[in-house]
Point group: C2
Chain length 212, copies 2
């Protein structure tokens, strides 16, 4: 694959990305000074993708998140996303990326168990033998389900990017994840979403390929 | 297709969406009181999708935006997106949704003309006879290209959702769109992005089906 920089693959795209990175750094330099260089790269890319410097204040990673995630990503382990928008944004990964939300088995499971399709999709992934990094950009119910499956020993999770968005249940689900031993990245409060999730995983993929 | 409410299709998803809508309304009620009910629905869905009430302050629609967009959407006209993440988020549209950013012809065009792939993708769409609503959630260069093509009479655009995100060129491109006669929705400043774009077009699709 051609080398890229923050998703850019043409000279024009590269110039825009480089200039943006410089502006982002000037905005969040002080806030990220205690982070490792990898953690800082991830936060920079999130702020670049959202144009919202507040993410430098609310993004939290467990101390083992980067190492565990990089190990999984560089070994080409699976990536599991909650919705197809997140999957569509991960465009430079040689490994498998799964999203079961539109899978008929998940739809049926949701109906039978009276859970959301996003939660049912996580259960299906566990049954299918998923092993790797979970990336949740939308549904708190998916994140709760992942914690439940890991606790029950039913899902082999290397790390979780848990950044569901919304005023109902998102903040609570992220707070709960931050209290587990699962290596994680979360955003505090209601904010988060697909661009945050995609920025975090794409940043890890780039770091594992020695590109920032 | 099954009726949905803000993307939810199960009882659990519906309840979460309904509660979220209520919270969103309480947060932005005052800010949206001068909008039409359709405009208000669109802004509510954007704030629901981002958990960021600031979008009620920075979202701007031309007075003809809702009518022109609804006409196009209810006639099943084309939707054109700049990146595949936006396309992936539009999941209830019976018409065609196009995204040419990974099309080999766009990649070649970008190289030849030294423009971004996102801009080249817009040119390709025009050549392919696109007619409908343009939805740009990421690339300012794509938005500039659409304005250029419309001005030249080379692209048949009914309305533009122009919400590219970023610190380099995004705000300027949206300001320029707001000064054209093209029916448009923009967000002022650097903020915007794929969830905003997807929320706006999905809201219009729902309104055209008499669902909010």
């Amino acid at each position: 694959m051609k080398p890229t920089f923050m998703g850019a693959s043409t000279k024009q795209g590269y110039e825009i990305a480089a200039k943006s990175r410089e502006i982002v750094r000037s905005l969040i330099d002080e806030k990220t000074k205690d982070l490792t260089s990898e953690e800082r790269s991830i936060v920079e890319r999130i702020v670049h993708s959202t144009a919202d410097p507040e993410y430098a204040d609310i993004t939290r990673m467990s101390s083992d998140f980067v190492q565990q995630s990089l190990e999984a990503v560089s070994q080409g382990k699976d990536i599991l996303t909650d919705i197809s928008m997140v999957k569509a944004g991960i465009n430079k990964y040689p490994g498998n990326i799964y999203c079961y939300i539109s899978d008929e088995r998940a739809v049926n499971l949701a109906r039978e168990q009276e859970i959301t399709r996003a939660a049912a999709a996580m259960e299906l992934a566990a049954v299918e033998g998923f092993e790797g990094v979970v990336v949740i950009g939308n549904a708190p119910t998916a994140l709760w389900k992942v914690m439940e499956l890991v606790e029950a020993g039913s899902m082999n999770v290397k790390s979780v990017i848990g950044v569901p968005v919304g005023f109902v249940g998102a903040a609570e689900s992220k707070k709960a994840l931050a209290e587990t031993l699962i290596p994680h990245l979360v955003t505090e409060g209601p904010k988060g979403g697909t661009p945050v999730a995609v920025a975090a995983i794409n940043s890890l993929i780039n770091i594992s390929r020695n590109e920032r």
